[in-house]
Each structure stands twice: as structure tokens, then as C-alpha cells.
Amino acid sequence: MARDIGLDDPEDVFAEIPPHLRAARPPLGRGPISQDAVLRLAADRAAMVRVDRPTFLGAGFYDRFVPPALVESILRRTDYYTAYTPYQAEASQGILEALFEYQQGVCALTGLDVSNASLYDGATALAEAVLCLFGASTHSSGTVLISSAVNPHYRAVLRTYLSDLPIDIIEIPFCSEEGRTVPESFKRTTAAPVIAVIAQNPNVFGVVEDMRAISENARNAGAGFIHVYEPASLSVLATPAETGADIAVAEGQSLGLPLYYGGLALGMFSARESFLRRLPGRIVGKTLDRDGHDAYCLTLQTREQHIRREKATSNICTNHTLCAIYAGAYLRLLGAEGLQAVVETSAARMEQFLDGVRSLNLNLQPAFTAPSLFEIAIRSDRPLDHLPILPLRHHYPELSNVYLVSFTERRTESDVDWLLSEVAGR
């Protein structure tokens, strides 16, 4: 092939790279490894991950049931996963229709008017929501009020995203008795306008917040309200539309996606219609083809970086399409009943645990008085760091002996019995 284009030595094709710039020595310092050997190596690495006991870790990532039907027909479906962003609509109708169904599912869950076609993860979706409200506001600077019971990593990422912008973050402390945020504490306390009020439901402690009341206070402060939710919980908890949210964001991993160390995340973003032209990221629309048949395409692209460049609503290009298609399919597979079963079964396991704590007279107490869903903060009189539950002291120093115990529908009665016996030290 080199000779076809007039080269004696194929390497001459790099003639334009100044020779003295070229790598002096092989950068990796190793040769190729066969597929068989690499897969053995991968198996060795994977064997160095502890998966021999049930996990009660949660806090944003959940060990939910991963339906094999979705792994096979979506995650491992090469016709999906080896395609690019659906720029050429006619040759990408399947991806586009599947994303459209995802958008439908998100709007059904949240009750809001519009959804984008996914962002990276829950934390960056929250940051994008604040940027969206800021961009839509008439203010050139302002503050954001965020409950300190919002996932600490989300708050940390938000701080990073806002650090170079004229937006200050004010954290609203949660009530140390109830474990929820007092709605009346979301009020304007400085001269600066309040751009956004942010609360999460259930919050990081699993405690159910009074989102309607928080939203009302946001309204009174002249702020937009961002409702951070857990998707399955919306089968039973007040929807962002019902709470009066302007934007709703979530981590979508809990819609049956495998854990992968938090590395198969999904940023869910939906909003009221008025924010349509300020939404970050891709949006799929339904339209017609030349023959008048239903067809789908990426739409409202004048918001986006490849058209609007520095004036774009976000820099998002690659998003998390495959995860979004999966999440949309998960909703259609389980339906409202299935989602409610996820919530109810998780709640039943939590009750079994709390009953056990009482009947076995274990030295554990719920840390907070308000009702919890999915996970519960438990105060212990001795360290339980050896168990698969999350110590909260790293993020909340005042909760030095408090652990977050998370329940999913995958935890069985015997899993909970095992945890109880471990806590009892037997």
C-alpha cells in the first residue's frame, strides 16, 4: 500500500513529524500480550475484588437486580454499542427511537415536560442543572442553597464546577435529630439573588424530605428548584412535577445497571418546558421522513457545542447513550408495579433489619427520627468498619459512629440475618 502512494518505506508517511520530536524509546516498555493471556490477567485482577458476601453499601450506587434480558439485548448488542452518536439519522433510527423511549420514560417518572438524552452521572447532571438555571436567569451572579444532606460527592462536584463562576454555594444544615432538611431554612440570607435551591429525596441518609415544602421556600426566595431523586423511588414518592421542581436530576445506575465500581453511570436530566432551549446535551425529537413516515433525529441542536461553540448551553458531546437506552428498557420491563416492588422489597428488608436490631437487643439505634427508604443511618456503640456498610464519618465528622446501611431488592432475608449476626458479633 505504501508503494501505491509513492513511498519506498511505509514509515516515510510520517515525514512531516520532525525526527528529533519522535519518541526516543518505546513508551510502554513492553511487547504485545495475547488475548488469552490478557483475559487471564483480567481474571486475576477481578479475583482481587471481594464479592463473597452480600453488600449493604449504597449512597448513590446500588446493587440492584440486573436483568439478563437487558444485558443481552442492549449492553452486549453490538449493533448498539459499536455505533457512534446518531448524527446520520436515517442510519441510526434504532438508537434514536430507543433514546426517545428513554426520554418518555424519564418524563413519565418525573412528571416533567422534557428530558435530554442523558448526561454522564448524577453529580455532573446536578452541576449542569445549576448552570442551566443560571443561564436562564437574568442574574450575572448569585448563590445556590443546597441541603447538606445531598450526596457529599454531588456537592463536591458542584463546588468544582462552580469554582470559576460568580456563583456562591451556601450549605443548609440538615436537622441533626430528624435527619432531614428543615424546609424553612431555605431562604435568602444575603443580598445576592438565589439562583437555585437543591434538595435530594430520599437524601443521602435515606431520609424522605418534604420536597413540596422545600420547593415552596425556593419559590419564596425567588429561586429555581432542583429536585435530586432516585429513579425507582418515584414510583411511590412525590414526583418533581408534584413538588414544583424546575429541573430534576438523578443517577440512573440504580435502574438495573451493573455496578462496575460506579463506572457505568447515567446522568438523568429533565425539566419544565420553559427550559427546553437551555437544556444541556443531546435531545431526540420525533418527526417525519420525506414519505411522511414517523422518524427520529437529534434536535434543537442550536443549543449545542458543535453549532453554537462558546455560546452553547453545555460542552456535552459524548453522553451516556447506551446506559440511557438500557434505563429506558428497564422501565418498560419492570413498569410501575416492578418499580414499586423494588421499593417495597427494599423497605421490607430494612424493617426486618430494624426488627432484628430490637429483638436481638443490639446496641444500635437509628440515628434519625424521620422515615427512611432504601437506606438508614444507624448509630453504633462500637466500630463496624469490617462490615459492608458505609461509615459516614468521612463526610460527616459529627456522625463519628454512624453507619449507612443500604437495602435493595437483591438482599434476601438470609442476607439480613447474616448482617444481624455479624453486628451481634456472633
Binding site: V13, I17, V49, T55, T78, D79, L237, E242, G263, R349
Partner: protein
């Protein structure tokens, strides 16, 4: 309906006060498992993808990805690893991450690598924020301008805006390279960063890169490498050796992660030592107990992801780099650039390649401008006609520097027969444009739908 999982009843929900509970019915169009699987298998067939088709989408590096990555993804230890497990329980995950960090540092010539960014644009934002922090720590806070060449990827200026920086556009010269006098005129003590991809979006190597680096550094600025086009130089010349201070790499391009129909990708960044303390934390370090996450210092910009980045994809890139080794890395760039040059020479006989006088790197940009003028057939018409032959279309209308642009990137994983087939097809299409322009206006006719009305979609949005 089959049981998905063991269910149990609880009063916890019904005992919640009404104002906390959902009132509206949750209306989801449920499908039984077999119908849902059929639905998605059939939807998935309504797409062209790398596993079915040649995919010469410029700037996107749609190479074939070894299935070894998918096989490794099935390992239970990866599949079920929870991000909040103690470090001692996830040593296998941390070893993969540490080894990938080391590999990416070696291949890019950088001192420190951060794996958190979930995509290229996410990496750009991360690096620009690190750059701002670097200047803030140096108390050099007047540097609020990001210089980008006029043919830069759209994410570059968009990322700059998100970092609260102003965009200054640098012209390209007639040879399709950064215009040095214009760059000089725009560099100042307000310059924070020049963002550059090399080879650039015309597929050309920036031969003046050393002068560019000197000028940027002399002005006190930083040089940023947009790694979208790293495939062309993998294992041959490293951004760090060209004078770049920071780089993002799109693992879903050069490092062979499947693109997932638009994501998830992964966009790690690498930086030289002087910027390392500004990277997001926590940091992966080695202790006597093995790999551990260590909190970042006060110089860090903070967290950048809910967890630790897109581990599944990072792991696939780790697999890929083990399959490659140094020989493989050099073979990747050689085949990518040879394929592109072979194709460029052939396409040049069919369509003008405005900046195609010399050698290209991994891609090149042809123009349908004369065809448009002569026959009223646009680059978009040609793209749609290509789809009908079961080949994905090149990138159209980018970069803006070339009118009626068709940006073609064959990648290294295509054999000569595939390229020859594409050339024959392009010849046929260009002949058709003259003889039967309507066939191009009417295309596609052999895809699941005819030409999609995108204007209607934007004017009357139906989004759910």
C-alpha cells in the same frame, strides 16, 4: 410475568404521609420480556455500526474494538465492585486503574494522569479548570483567555466558556496550519491556554508545533492537547515531547472502547508535573497495604465524578493496551496514517481535497463544493447516498474551513479491499451527481426511513 427478584411486602410506604407520596399514576408502556428483547434487537438492527459497516466518520476514530474487552467486562469482580468498598477489597480494580494511569502517562509524555473525566469534553473542562487553578495559585489571575484555532472541535470553546474563560479564535494559514503571526498577535498576559489538536482537524500535522509551544510558553500560557486525534501519532511522538502541558485522551477513540451509540466514553487527562497538584482527587497512591485512594490537597480543583470515572471503559482500554504493547501502538498509528494517505490519494482523483497537497495524517477533508456549484448536489446529499450502500457517512460540514466538507477517517482496522470498495463507490456517486443528481437528492432509499425532516423536528418539537 416472571419474577425478577424475591419480593416482600412492607407498610413503610403506605404509612408515609400523603403529601410525601406520588399522586399521579405512573404510566409506562410495559412489554413482556420476549417482546422487549425483540423490540430492542429490531431497533438495534436499524443502525449502521462498526461491527456491520465501514464507518469513516472523520474525527471520531471508529475503529474495530477487540471483543476481548467485552469478555473481561463479564468478570464478576468488575461487574459487582461497589465504589465504596474499602480499598483493601478492590485491589484488582485499583491495580487496573494504576496500570492504565501509568500507560497513558507514558504514551502522552505526561507526569500525572487523572482518570475521572467521563468523556473528551469532560476532560477538557477538567483540564481548563486545573489550568485556572494553576494560575490562581501563582496569583496570576488576569489570564482569562483561551485561544482556539478556527477549525477546533466545538467542544473546545464550549468547555472554555464553562470554565468561565473567554474564547479568542486564532486563524489558520493557507497551508491549513495555525497562522503563527496571528497567534503571536493574540498571545498576551491575558492568555491562559492555547487548545490545539495535532494532527489538527484537517488531518495535518502542525509542523510548527515547537515554535507554537515556545511562543505560548514565552507569553506565560499553557499548551493544551486535544487528544481526539491521538490515533495518528500513537507510540511515535508524544504530546509531552511536543511541548504540551496538558492533554485529554478520548479512550473511545484511540484506545478502542466501543462508542456505545454515543457514549459512555472516557476522557482521562494528563498533565506535566507543575499542574499535577491541581488535578481532581482523590489520588491513587501505593502504600505498604497496596493501592489506596489518598485525599487531594488544597491545591486540587476538587471532585469531578460521582465515583471514580467510567471504570468499565477504563478497564477495556487497559485490556487494549495490554494487547497492543509498544509494537502494537506503533502499528496502530502506521496503519491509520497509511490507510488515510492511500485513501486521500485515491479520493483526490474524484473530489478536491483543498489541503491535500502533502501527506495527511489519520484523516483528510474532501470538498463537494464544485459538485454543489455544478450539479446542485451537496455534501449532505453525498453522505445520504453513501448510507444506501451500507457504509456510514463521513463527517459533513466540519471543519468549517472547508466548504461542503466531507471529513474521512478510515482508521487502522480496515483492510485495503474495504478502502478500494469505498473509492469505487465514491467514484460512482460523483458520476451520479453529474448524470442523475436526483438520485442523490432522493437518497437514502435503502435505509429504515427516507430523508428525515430535521427542520420540522426543531420547529415542532415532539420529545416524548
Amino acid at each position: 410475568m416472571s419474577l425478577w427478584f424475591d419480593t416482600a411486602r412492607s407498610h413503610r410506604i403506605t404509612s408515609l404521609p400523603g403529601h410525601l407520596r406520588r399522586r399521579a399514576p405512573l404510566l409506562i408502556d410495559v412489554l413482556p420480556e420476549n417482546d422487549l428483547v425483540r423490540h430492542h434487537v429490531n431497533l438495534s438492527r436499524k443502525n449502521l455500526c462498526v461491527d456491520s459497516s465501514f464507518y469513516p466518520l472523520g474525527s471520531c476514530t471508529m475503529k474495530y474494538s477487540s471483543k476481548a474487552g467485552e469478555a473481561a467486562a463479564a468478570e464478576r469482580g468488575f461487574f459487582q465492585a461497589h465504589p465504596w468498598q474499602p480499598d483493601t477489597e478492590v485491589q484488582g480494580v485499583l491495580a487496573v486503574l494504576a496500570e492504565l494511569q501509568a500507560d497513558l502517562a507514558a504514551l502522552t509524555g505526561m507526569d500525572a494522569v487523572c482518570l475521572y473525566p467521563a468523556a473528551g469534553a469532560h476532560g477538557e473542562l477538567c483540564a481548563l479548570k486545573a489550568a485556572r487553578q494553576y494560575f490562581r495559585l501563582k496569583k496570576d489571575t488576569g489570564r482569562l483567555e483561551v485561544l482556539v484555532p478556527e477549525n477546533a472541535h466545538g467542544t473546545n470553546p464550549a468547555s472554555a466558556s464553562m470554565a468561565g474563560l473567554r474564547v479568542v479564535v486564532v486563524k489558520m494559514n493557507s497551508a491549513g496550519r495555525v497562522d503563527l503571526p496571528d497567534l503571536r498577535a493574540k498571545l498576551s498576559n491575558r492568555t491562559a491556554v492555547l487548545m490545539l489538536t495535532n494532527p489538527n482537524t484537517l488531518g495535518l500535522f502542525e509542523t510548527d508545533i515547537e515554535s507554537i509551544a515556545r511562543e505560548v510558553h514565552a507569553a506565560g500560557g499553557l499548551l493544551y492537547y486535544d487528544g481526539a486525534n491521538l490515533n495518528a501519532i500513537l507510540g511515535r511522538v508524544r504530546p509531552g515531547d511536543m511541548g504540551f502541558d496538558m492533554v485529554h485522551v478520548n479512550l473511545h477513540k484511540t484506545f478502542s472502547i466501543p462508542h456505545g451509540a454515543g457514549g459512555p466514553g472516557a476522557g482521562p487527562i494528563g498533565v506535566k508535573a507543575h499542574l499535577a497538584p491541581c488535578l481532581p482527587g482523590p489520588y491513587l497512591t501505593k502504600s505498604m497495604f497496596g493501592h489506596v485512594w489518598t485525599p487531594a490537597g488544597t491545591e486540587s480543583i476538587g471532585r469531578f465524578h460521582s465515583a471514580y470515572g467510567n471504570f468499565l471503559n477504563l478497564m477495556k482500554a487497559w485490556v487494549y493496551l495490554r494487547l497492543l504493547g509498544d509494537d502494537g501502538a506503533r502499528r496502530v498509528s502506521l496503519a491509520a496514517v497509511l490507510n488515510a494517505n492511500y485513501l486521500q490519494e485515491k479520493i483526490k482523483q474524484i473530489l478536491p481535497v483543498p489541503y491535500g497537497a502533502g501527506r495527511c495524517m489519520h484523516e483528510f477533508v474532501a470538498s463537494a463544493q464544485t459538485i454543489k456549484e455544478n450539479f446542485g448536489v451537496s455534501a449532505m446529499d453525498i453522505a445520504k447516498r453513501i448510507l444506501d450502500e451500507g457504509i456510514y457517512a463521513p463527517t459533513v460540514y466540519f471543519p468549517l474551513l472547508v466548504r461542503e466538507a466531507l471529513m474521512i477517517e478510515p482508521t487502522e482496522t480496515e483492510r485495503r479491499e474495504t478502502l478500494d470498495h469505498f473509492v469505487a463507490l465514491m467514484k460512482l456517486i460523483v458520476e451520479e451527481a453529474a448524470a442523475h443528481p436526483d438520485r442523490l437528492h432522493d437518497a437514502p432509499v435503502r435505509q429504515p426511513v427516507r430523508r428525515v425532516d430535521e427542520v420540522r423536528a426543531a420547529r415542532h418539537p415532539i420529545l416524548k
